[in-house]
């Protein structure tokens, strides 16, 4: 085992969040070349489809992986092909154990006409239905809805907040951002810039202040000004740091005390490039503050975000949004059916 220093109070958060919308940055249209291994070639002949007809946003990350999987399944996989299917799932971060389970169950299915349908259904069964028109709820008309954004360092919390704020502002809601990341250098400035961009109200304290106090003040301000939605940014924290998790639990308690019965939405922001550790993260955050939803960020990368299957299977917390780019509008509601379909497209 490593014996790491355990900082009592972090001075600085790890580098965070995605870059903002920038004029010079056009997302590339082509998926990254699958340049590493040639082994799939013999297993999946003639599967180099261009993902031109895929849903915008998802297309960039899906093409290589799932079109190959589709190619494998279409022809009706032979015994040996199941191993390759399993590997493809593993390559998408579904996880070794879960991939084996899914394939096992798919093989055992007798009701599906094709193997593709079987795997598709098994994967879909792991996901929780989520209403695409989901909105954070408010307990009473004179109370704001509260969104608490949590996650480990650098997953994209602040950027996601910028997009959420834009979304709710565009719908005509009044939004107040609470800068409860008082740790990371310049985190408050970063959130303030997003706040200005979408015309939100903004509550912050000095760097190093008690984040729970920021949230308390933000809710006070929101109640006084009849704001619809409060979105609280929190410092990224590794789930293994119990002092920082305690701090997060305190924020949750402050919300519950200030707005009794309000049940805040607690959104867990997960980087799509995260591997198997994502489940451990989600589990601890869920135990600490009770997650009500997941945001799968950076899905426009070459990563597949397959760890979501394991998380939903284990915790039954639905994915609410996927982040698919760096522009303000690049936040899409998560639709399990479409997600699975896109995997096979």
């Amino acid at each position: 085992m490593f014996h790491f220093r355990k900082p009592k109070q972090p001075e600085v958060g790890a580098e965070a969040e995605q870059a903002p919308e920038a004029p010079a940055r056009e997302p590339a249209a082509e998926p990254a070349a699958e340049s590493l291994f040639e082994v799939e070639a013999h297993a999946a002949p003639a599967t180099d489809e261009t993902p031109g007809d895929l849903a915008e946003g998802l297309q960039k990350s899906r093409g290589g992986f799932m079109s190959r999987l589709r190619g494998l399944l279409k022809s009706g996989p032979a015994e040996a092909d199941w191993d390759s299917v399993e590997e493809l799932l593993i390559g998408g971060d579904v996880g070794g154990a879960l991939a084996a389970e899914v394939v096992e169950r798919a093989r055992a299915r007798k009701d599906s006409p094709t193997a593709e349908a079987a795997v598709r259904e098994e994967l879909a069964a792991l996901l929780i239905p989520s209403d695409p028109r989901w909105r954070p709820a408010r307990a009473t008309p004179d109370q704001p809805a509260v969104l608490l954004m949590v996650g480990v360092n650098g997953t994209g919390k602040t950027t996601t907040i910028g997009k959420l704020a834009h979304l709710y502002r565009a719908e005509g809601s009044s939004v107040l951002l609470a800068a409860a990341d008082t740790f990371r250098a310049a985190a408050i400035d970063q959130l303030r810039i997003w706040s200005d961009r979408s015309g939100c109200q903004f509550v912050s304290h000095a760097p190093g202040a008690d984040p729970a106090a920021v949230i308390y003040d933000a809710i006070d301000a929101a109640v006084a000004r009849h704001v619809d939605i409060v979105i609280a940014d929190t410092a990224g924290r590794l789930h293994t740091k119990s002092n920082l998790m305690d701090e997060l639990a305190k924020m949750r308690r402050v919300i519950d005390r200030r707005l009794p019965g309000a049940a805040p939405e607690v959104l867990f922001v997960l980087d799509a490039t995260t591997g198997q550790n994502g489940l451990a993260q989600a589990r601890v955050f869920h135990e600490t503050v009770g997650l009500t939803g997941i945001v799968l960020a950076k899905l426009d990368s070459t990563a597949k975000g397959g760890i979501v299957f394991a998380i939903e299977d284990a915790l039954h917390v639905p994915v609410r949004f996927v982040g698919v780019g760096e522009k303000l509008g690049d936040l899409l509601p998560f639709d399990p059916a479409a997600f699975v379909s896109a995997l096979f497209a």
Binding site: G13, E15, A24, E34, D189, Q190, A280, T302, A303
Partner: protein, 443 residues
């Protein structure tokens, strides 16, 4: 959640210990465990395949099949192979050029800005005069973040107006470095996706112009299967010289680093081990190997046991237990042996599967339980140690006074020891285990 691989192998192969031979089917079972554990650690599945193939080849060798401790041998082979892969490349940190240029690249949120500050602090410690350049004109307040960090370290930060191109920022940063007589320039770039050709070209132009001594790819230890593709794409665009593996203070096993080293041959040069600017450590392949295996630091534990334990003594102790002639004196000797190996909590932490008990054990030690026990035994006469039956009330009071404990503490020790003796009597009545669990040096 996740059983340490060494634990799984012990279960798979443990039953075979002493049977003399391990069949190929046994090796297959062990390899399935190895495969699953590596996948769980986010090692790329293709790397896993090659790796398992290599381990299997070595494990099925005659030398292993004849071994009495097959499980341990397989763990050892796996460990050696992991260390070999992780030892890839040149881990030296080069600081050539005047000023020496270090460029940090990576995906969004991998930890570049924090790593830049850590490197700056590291450079200052080495007696160098670094300057940091904020070459991220995209993320809001990225330059502010670097500036705040620089201020806390008393390291200058060069930044430019929004709208300046990255290449222009970097060149101006170099000028600033020369003017301020700085010998090391650390350039923090924006996070970027490998599919973003424009941005990948941007850093390609940057490194082509500056010819950095080190171009470090900053990789989050929690990264999944994509890590290899990410590293390949960056290495194709810029001359990457090594990795900084960040957020290793979490519980991710960091298999991403193994995959990258295995496929690209790039070495890990630094580990980011915390949020503070001093949390940067040089990389040791054997430690990460142990972490990926989830095997605790068994090797260190075995080493320490071998250093402190002498085998004859262990054999003598086993014999005593068998003959039921184990005395309080022997118990004292045993405790002293174990304590020589290090702090109790740390020892237990090294044992796979017992990590969670470390705190409790250390707490017992901290409360002084062990010291009290030792003090009580030491306050006894040799006769009393050999035969606690002679301990009448007066003797017990004397022992309590002598050891600075209470009478009930002494009573408790005597009672516990007599229970231990009873237990040993039962065991010596035929089914005495050939190996005594928890006694090092015999396995």
């Amino acid at each position: 959640m996740f059983d340490a691989l060494s634990e799984r192998l012990r279960k798979t192969l443990g039953a075979l210990t002493g049977r003399g031979r391990v069949s190929e089917a046994d090796v297959d079972a062990a390899m399935r465990e190895v495969r699953l554990a590596l996948l769980e650690a986010d090692v790329n599945f293709k790397v896993v395949k090659d790796f398992v193939g290599r381990v299997r080849e070595r494990a099925t060798g005659a030398e292993i099949l004849d071994s009495l401790t097959a499980g341990q041998q397989v763990v050892k082979i796996v460990n050696e192979e992991l260390v070999a892969l992780l030892s890839a490349g040149d881990r030296t940190f080069h600081l050539t050029g005047s000023p020496a240029v270090i460029v940090l690249v990576g995906l969004q949120g991998s930890g570049k800005t924090t790593s830049a500050a850590k490197l700056a602090r590291f450079m200052v410690k080495q007696g160098r005069r670094p300057i940091m350049v904020a070459a991220d004109p995209y993320r809001p307040a990225a330059a502010d973040q670097l500036q705040t960090l620089g201020k806390s370290l008393d390291v200058p930060v060069f930044r430019a107006q929004t709208g300046t191109t990255v290449l222009a920022i970097a060149k101006a940063g170099m000028d600033a470095a020369r003017k301020q007589v700085r010998d090391t320039v650390i350039i923090d770039t924006a996070g970027r996706l490998t599919v973003d050709e424009g941005l990948m070209k941007e850093i390609a132009d940057l490194t082509a112009a500056l010819k950095p001594a080190e171009t470090l790819l900053v990789i989050d230890a929690m990264t999944g299967q994509e890590a290899v593709h990410v590293a390949e794409a960056f290495a194709a665009a810029v001359p990457v010289t090594g990795l900084v593996l960040t957020k290793i203070d979490g519980d991710a096993r960091g298999g991403a680093a193994l995959s990258i080293s295995a496929v690209t041959g790039l070495p890990v040069k630094f580990l980011g081990t915390g949020e503070k600017t001093d949390a940067l450590e040089p990389f040791y392949p054997d430690r990460l190997a142990g972490r990926i295996l989830g095997m605790g630091d068994v090797l260190t534990l075995i080493e320490r046991a071998q250093e402190t334990y002498d085998e004859k003594q262990a054999a003598r102790m086993t014999e005593k237990l068998r003959k039921n002639s184990f005395t309080l004196e022997d118990m004292l000797e045993q405790m002293e042996q174990v304590q020589k190996m290090g702090p109790m909590g740390q020892l237990i932490e090294m044992i796979p599967g017992l990590g969670g008990m470390a705190k409790q054990a250390q707490a017992a030690v901290d409360r002084g339980d062990l010291r009290r026990l030792q003090a009580i035994i030491r306050s006894m006469t040799p006769e009393e140690r050999r035969d606690p039956n002679v301990l009448n009330g007066s003797r017990r009071r004397r022992i309590a006074n002598g050891s600075g404990t209470r009478l009930q503490d002494v009573n408790q020790v005597v009672k516990q020891f007599s229970e231990l003796q009873k237990m040993m009597k039962q065991m010596s009545g035929g089914r005495f285990p050939r190996r005594i669990p928890g006694m090092p040096g015999q396995g």
